[in-house]
Amino acid sequence: MAKLKDLEAYREEIEQCVKCGACRAHCPVFGAERREGRVARGKIALSQAVLDGEIDFDAKVMEDLSQCLLCGSCGAGCPNKVPTEEIVAAARRRIAQEKGLSTFGKGVAAVIGRPKLMNALAKTGGKLSNLLFKKLPENSGLRLRFPVPYLESGRTLPPFTDKPFRERCPDRIEGEAGKPTVAFFTGCGINYMYPAVGEAFLKALKFLGITVIIPKDQACCGLPAVAAGAGSTVETLAEQNFAALTREPVDFILTACASCNAGLVKVYGDMEGECAELGPKTRDIFVFLLEQGLAEKLAELPRAAVRKVVTYHDPCHLRTQGITQEPRAVLKALPQVEYVEMENAGTCCGLGGTYSVYHYENSKKIGALKAGNIETSGAELVATDCPGCIMQLQDSINHAGGKQRAVHILELLNEALPD
């Protein structure tokens, strides 16, 4: 049985906050809206007050706790490493228990908890993706499915694919004998929105002779449900993924999405139950590729005469796990890439999953800073390692009127590798 921790179980972590205020320098939400309730310290103080029975989850407390991207930047910069994002997630679960899930939270739970529905929706989404930019009638069922703020906000979304990635690819691709066998945890972003990234993933592993299994019955990692406070959905998904990913023996589980990586490593890692076993086996794709000697192989390829200027955006969910050098190393090793570092590459893009749905204006503000840094870096492409970030980065660039494109590093790797 997979079981997430209750808010009460975080009391010790909460008490480790010495109220120094250092998180003020790291919290993107606080940066956009300089109010103490928005910063990690404030959210911890409120969670503590709730535990102590000093305050209920009133509207203001819930609003403050909703103002968190769960990006983990505060914890990474905190002298005492207080895991605010876990505390906030636990507080949201408590809110959902006491007050019920929000309408949107219910939507998230209903959709991501049911892969079939998700597939069906994505296909409809594919056909309707043009429509998505236009206002839908109030009584449209789609309004319930796709959160209203998205439709009315002018956000640019990538088109949903007609055929999800996992429906296009085989269950197993045999590699060379003696090389590791891995399971590919695709995540929803790649499966429904960026199937080309999935194809690139397979090409990279084929290039290195790795055997890949793509379990068809894997589900969403559950991070959107974590953000929405839908605890039982997260637990169900964790169990489902555990079953899917352990059916056949594999050496590693690979992700090409920072959020999925954090989901498997950190969220499942903190759970009671066997799901926690998935974390130690999970690797980010670039960490794995480098271990398998990708850099050396790339060094053998001729360096292109004309190269694309590319910069890198650190997805929070990798950066806060200390994975910052590997994606850069792959980019730098690509023959057709001229790498430039942008300023503040390590600050959040502002997506934060459901955060950008509830707080799109703030999300845009945070994204605008990023778009500015991309522009000043002089890069034509901003590469990253997370489909969610790609979506948000492109949206921010579009709003800023920039010409740059946001891509997954795997897409660039795909170009570089021989067919």
Partner: protein
């Protein structure tokens, strides 16, 4: 509890959005880095001096206490609403109004975060040296109110040495300016210096005029390990005696080194019982020479090892040892009382020995590090509050530490101020007569004692 009428007046002045009596907001502005907690009745976020003036006029006539607050990173409880009332937050007043590169002067609002200001002026080749360790999040207003200092003070001085003019709102609601943008100015009493370090008890700072320097071309960092704290202290005297004033002269005592050694994998040899991080800045060509000279001067003083950084990355690696202190201390004991006594430079070893004796007497670990160049020692009394009697023991130990510093001609606080944390100890350092004059100043400016009451001096 504050009357609804008062909240309505505040809302009239500031607009609904910037006045809050919501419990969540009261909780969020109830603490600072001292971790004590006092709930205000109302939190306000003004944007201009004019608004603050109206608030103060109302508060003065209604006799409602007002507590100015920057980032709430204070270590002495200065921003805590100990008597309820109004917490006045400067978070919205965060504009850099002017940077005059020709005259090396800048004007800012109080809510500007220190490091952000530094980064902006450094892009223009200018330099604002005060660098409290909290610079990434504390505000310039809070820095001025506390007269914050940091490692670079040895060479450049503290916050007040860079503040040449202020605009303040007085407790009675008048908006006045002190000083101005000139490098010299001797007309009238120097109210600017009086407000610097007044801990928000004499006026609310609404604008700050800052003196800037040209940005030094380069800096170089070295780390020197000594066999004893005396060696390190003599090194400090020897360096300064040889007419080299480094930008930074940070030290760690043997116990601090032990903590770092235990908690991290940073390599520090067993023989090292004290350590100095020395940084020099200036023209590139002079730096290497200065570093060489420093190394030569201190070599006979029991140097165990010297590491000189050649690149910024190597320099960062040296600072890493200093930066890992805070986290490593937590492994000693969960709760920390961080005092910031200051003694004459040459008395540092004597003070450390006193602290070691106090630590032994009470059987609680005390770890020292700080700014050797200006004698500012961070005395960290490490306890576990959950163990009965520990907190009381720590309190006694701290009082002895203060007394020890005073007998050496030092002070109870070099950086963090008095606030509420050190108010009870004021009579140890300030004579009753001197205290009377200070209180007379407060009385003149704030006859109703409404601005940050109960701070620095105990109300009785």
């Amino acid at each position: 509890m504050i009357e609804a009428r008062i909240v309505r007046i505040l809302t009239g002045i500031l607009g609904k959005e910037h006045v809050s009596t919501e419990k969540a907001d009261l909780l969020c502005y109830s603490y600072d880095a001292t971790q004590q907690k006092f709930l205000p009745d109302v939190v306000v976020h003004p944007a201009t001096a004019a608004e603050i003036s109206l608030i103060m006029k109302m508060a003065n006539s209604e006799k409602i206490p007002v507590f100015p607050r920057g980032a709430g990173s204070g270590f002495s409880g200065g921003s805590l609403p100990t008597k309820g009332g109004i917490v006045l937050v400067t978070e919205r007043m965060n504009r850099i109004l002017e940077i005059d590169s020709e005259n090396l002067v800048a004007t800012v609002e109080p809510g500007v975060v220190t490091e952000q200001f530094q980064l902006v002026v450094e892009k223009l080749g200018l330099f604002y040296p005060p660098d409290p360790a909290s610079l990434k999040f504390s505000t310039l207003g809070g820095n001025v109110a506390e007269c914050a200092g940091g490692p670079r003070c040895v060479k450049y001085g503290v916050t007040k040495d860079f503040i040449i003019g202020l605009e303040i709102v007085t407790p009675q609601g008048d908006i006045i300016t002190t000083g101005g943008p000139t490098m010299k100015g001797v007309v009238g009493y120097d109210l600017t210096k009086l407000i610097c370090g007044s801990e928000g008890t004499l006026g609310i700072i609404t604008r700050i005029i800052i003196k800037l320097l040209p940005l030094p071309e380069a800096k170089q960092t070295m780390l020197v390990m000594f066999a004893s704290i005396d060696g390190a202290a003599q090194a400090v005297s020897a360096i300064i005696g040889n007419k080299i004033i480094p930008t930074t002269l940070e030290f760690m005592d043997g116990r601090t080194i032990d903590c770092v050694r235990k908690a991290t994998n940073l390599e520090v040899p067993e023989a090292a019982r004290a350590l100095l991080i020395i940084e020099v800045d200036g023209d590139r060509e002079f730096l290497a020479k200065q570093v060489e000279k420093i190394a030569a001067v201190i070599q006979p003083l029991g140097v165990v090892e010297t590491r000189i950084a050649k690149t910024p990355a190597e320099s960062e690696a040296l600072w890493q040892i200093r930066r890992s202190v805070s986290a490593s201390l937590r492994k000693v004991n969960p709760d920390k009382f961080n005092e910031d006594i200051c003694v004459p430079r040459s008395k540092v070893p004597e003070m450390i020995r006193k602290v070691d004796a106090i630590s032994e007497k009470y059987g609680i670990p005390i770890v020292n590090f700080g700014h050797a160049g200006d004698g500012n020692i961070h005395v960290n009394v490490m306890i576990d509050k959950k163990i009965p009697g520990e907190a009381e023991k720590a309190e006694k130990a701290i009082e002895e530490v203060f007394k020890g510093a005073l007998t050496l001609g030092g002070t109870m606080s070099g950086e963090h101020g008095v606030g509420i944390a050190k108010a009870p100890y004021i009579p140890l350092e300030i004579t009753p007569k001197a205290a009377d004059y200070m209180k007379a100043i407060k009385q003149a400016l704030d006859p109703n004692n409404i601005l940050n009451p109960g701070k620095i001096f105990l109300d009785n």
